[in-house]
Amino acid sequence: MAKAKSISYEFFKGFWEILPPFRLVLGLCPMLAVTKYVENGLGMGIATTFVLLFSNIIISSIKSVIPKKVRIASYIVIIATFVVIVELVMQAFFYSLFEKLGIFIPLIVVNCIILGRAEAFASKNPIHLSAADGLGIGLGYTMSLFFISAIREILGAGTFFGMHIMWGSYEPFAFMIEAPGAFICLGLLLAMMNLIPNKLSGAN
């Protein structure tokens, strides 16, 4: 470990350097499935951030007692616990969001970002860095989900957070809120994410 690690580096890398799901191409399933509307995308992002932050903290703090051979099982148990907590809390306080996200809340357990960060980062780094990493990646993911769902909702339904924002005669491009629209939107954004830094650095 030659490189000195700082909290701010671990936090901010999640916003650009390894921004999920564009740089860290993980967590695509929920991102394709729930980004029809901004509300859903944002809710999913926040739920994922919560799970990521706490699972990173817990895994980092007990990493020395977990035997190597059962580490994945231990991580999954811990992650699943936080997912169920999110599910219960959301059901109790944000029921309409809970109904919209439905099956995708329990599926946060198998979101590769979370297990990926546990395995690649939290199991090797101290608690404060793991917390910064979890929070940064989670918020970066939330930002991406927000961005994609905003594009899809505005084009596909002509609304933003459920409010009509397009002009009256705007014909919603319903294709964008269907699954193929999600793939195309993601593909174009990925291409843009690769194009911009290349142009900036003068590469072709």
Partner: protein, 190 residues
């Protein structure tokens, strides 16, 4: 050997701690979730199947016990006279239990309609049993109607591609038909 014992112990401890944590969270959110479910899930369904009632159906809900089992029932009143009752029965569908609320008119002895309360069916397929195009099949049916999907000789148009889910709804409705005479007796007594 020592290593194996360690693995078992660590996993057991983690699972136990997580279990206790979850039990605590569940306990803490239980009543609030129940209220939310009443408001968002049962509320609309009850108001739909007993739509011409004049009382507050959710507030007037009651628990009654029939043959040693407790049931949550919603009694619809018109001019302070009970005219209808609705309650939930479940049946196993494709992805888990489907909870079906069935409304009965106790004056005319007919099924007023049904509403799907809980299910975990496949979105776009089995989940479509909760759409009104399917649930309207059951509106205003006499109790001796054949509550089965058409393939089984009944009158219910199954959702295409979701026969198992449609059958489960029919089976839940038949279960509530079995219970209905007992529940009616209880209401008339009151």
């Amino acid at each position: 050997m020592k290593e194996y014992i360690r693995m078992v112990v660590v996993l057991t401890v983690i699972a136990t701690v997580c279990g206790f944590l979850l039990a605590a969270v569940r306990k803490g959110t239980e009543t609030r979730i129940e209220e939310q479910v009443l408001l968002y899930v049962q509320g609309p369904a009850v108001n739909k199947v007993l739509s011409s009632s004049t009382n507050d159906l959710i507030q007037d809900r009651q628990e009654i016990s029939v043959q040693g089992q407790d049931y949550l029932i919603f009694v619809g009143e018109r001019n302070t006279q009970p005219w209808a009752v609705a309650f939930e029965r479940t049946a196993g569908g494709y992805g888990g239990d489907i909870g079906v609320l069935v409304g009965f008119d106790i004056e005319r002895d007919i099924v007023t309609g049904i509403g799907i309360l809980t299910h975990s069916e496949t979105p776009g397929l089995g989940a479509r049993v909760s759409e009104s195009i399917f649930t309207d099949n059951f509106n205003n049916k006499t109790l001796n109607a054949n509550f089965n999907v058409k393939q089984d000789g009944g009158f219910v148009d199954a959702v295409s591609g979701a026969t198992i889910s449609s059958r489960a709804v029919c089976s839940a409705v038949r279960k509530s038909l079995e219970l209905y005479p007992e529940i009616k007796k209880e209401i008339v007594k009151q």
